[in-house]
Amino acid sequence: MSRLKGEMRQLGGDRAQSGDRTKSDDKSQRRLRSSASLRGSWLQTLYGMLAILLFWYVMHISVGSAAIPAPHTAILHFLRIFPGELSKHLLVSLGRISVALLVSLVLGGALGLWMGVSERADRWLSPVVYLLYPLPKIAFLPVLMILFGLGETSKIMLIIIIIIFQILVAARDGVREISKELYYSVLSLGIGRSGLYRHLILPATLPKIMTALRICVGVSISILFFGENYATTYGIGYFIMNSWLMADYVEMFSGILALSLMGFLLFKGIDLLEARWCRWTRLTRRLTDVHK
């Protein structure tokens, strides 16, 4: 056994490759990397904010119209109204988007995985998806209003019927990208169908689904803005349009700031989930950086 262990040490090249690294060494390195990445992330956010503010100031000065108020005026107004009225509008919009994203993720994800795994399902469903995907679904709003009424359901359904296709296609393509060797390797371990989904298919497709989800957030916010312009007195879309109609541009820009904040929080939330669930993709990215 001792000879075997000696051979193993030689074989692994643990020392040659990574020194006498222990679990605690690895942990402290990870902690350092994570705090450096957090610092980098905040600096990037700060840079993004400064770039937008600069552009806003340039537009404000060069256009010289009340339609583009000074950034500091809008920000101060935003800070004043946010704790009261604005946060209520924001929460309503956030709720609508969250429900739509969740339903699309569950339904689109499940259907996409099924199409990826089953050739027959893909054969029957792909033509339907390809025909429906490019349609301007916003044109179906009157139909949605008839079917689901003027309340919350039609607004949420409008978002779902647009973004579900992106998640579905991403999940299906994610399954297709699993290599035959990896599939065979896991299959040969004699795990059942549910084990195959849990241990291989779902984790392998998760990075693609997360990317699709990130795209869907941006799209959802745009659709929501449209959907919140009928039969409601709450929602950030309503707030912005109402301010515009009343020619209160400072208030309108405060709403736009709130919308931007909501998008930012959703994107950051997805980033956090990805960092937790898809840690291995970050590792691949880090290794790619080293090879540059």
């Binding site: 075997l4 262990k5 051979e7 193993m8 040490r9 030689q10 074989l11 692994g12 090249g13 643990d14 490759q17 690294r21 222990t22 679990k23 690895d26 290599s179 060797e181 990896l182 065979y184 390797s185 896991v186 299959l187 040969s188 371990l189 004699g190 795990i191 059942g192 084990g195 241990h199 291989l200 984790p203 392998a204 998760l206 898809c278 840690r279 291995w280 590792l283 691949t284 290794l287």
Partner: protein
């Protein structure tokens, strides 16, 4: 004992294996060598129950193979490790999926990590390992299920010369200790000679020749003239086939 009779496997119109007959005694080793596309890997997939033959039969331990056989382990060229699971989880998930309890899973995984010298790497992801380390994890993941047949497909082809030899030593040692039947597919003549008790030369989906290797398992076999003689013999056969 592995018994293959008149096996034929085809992918759509392409015939990968034709009227293949083979028997591998239990607890022995068999190396399959041949050029690319000769059907070596298909033979391994058929033995693992991953591809369904058009005709013929495969019998392992007296039972016909008609699907994935739980007592057969498979180690592939690119290791087949799940990149999102740590080394420990890669070893543990097949056990958990087969219904082993948490305590037994942990014990088996711990023992395997120790046996393969991987204790300090249990928390790492496969992407953080060297090729040799990944190969050990792949072997460990299969052996933790205690298979009676181990199938290896080009298992050391991506490794450097020294690591390759050390992996081969490890496989030989594990075979001796655990007494599984080993079927190994390789491009590498030296690997076939070192690990094959019987060496099959394949071409065009058929076993063209079976060569017994009487020197298999001898101490310091690689340094022995018989190793070079056997390697030369195989090389000549491969040239003849080409």
């Amino acid at each position: 004992m592995i018994e293959i009779r008149d096996l034929e496997v085809a992918y759509d119109q392409d015939i990968a294996l034709k009227e293949l007959n083979l028997s591998v005694p239990a607890h022995s080793t068999c190396a399959v060598i041949g050029s690319s596309g000769c059907g070596k890997t298909t033979l391994l997939y058929a033995l693992a129950g991953l591809v369904r033959p058009q005709s013929g039969s495969i019998v392992i331990g007296g039972k016909s193979v008609s699907g994935i056989r739980k007592e057969t382990g498979l180690v592939l060229q690119d290791y087949g490790l799940l990149p999102w699971k740590t080394v420990r989880d890669n070893l543990a998930f097949p056990l958990k999926a087969r219904g082993f309890g948490a305590v037994e899973t942990s014990e088996r995984v711990g023992a395997m990590l120790e046996e393969l010298g991987l204790e300090s790497l249990g928390h790492r992801l496969p992407g953080e390992l060297s090729g040799g380390q990944k190969q050990r994890v792949a072997i460990g993941r299969t052996l933790v299920l205690e298979p009676d047949v181990l199938l290896m497909d080009e298992a050391s082809s991506a490794l450097d010369a020294m690591t390759k030899e050390l992996i081969q030593n490890l496989v030989l040692r594990l075979h001796r200790e655990r007494q599984f039947t080993l079927v190994l597919v390789t491009h590498n003549i030296e690997e076939a000679v070192f690990l094959g008790q019987r060496i099959l030369v394949m071409a065009d989906g058929r076993v063209q020749e079976q060569i017994d290797n009487p020197y298999f398992g001898e101490a310091d076999f690689r340094d022995h003239p018989s190793f070079f003689e056997m390697s030369l013999k195989i090389r000549r056969r491969l040239y003849e086939q080409a």
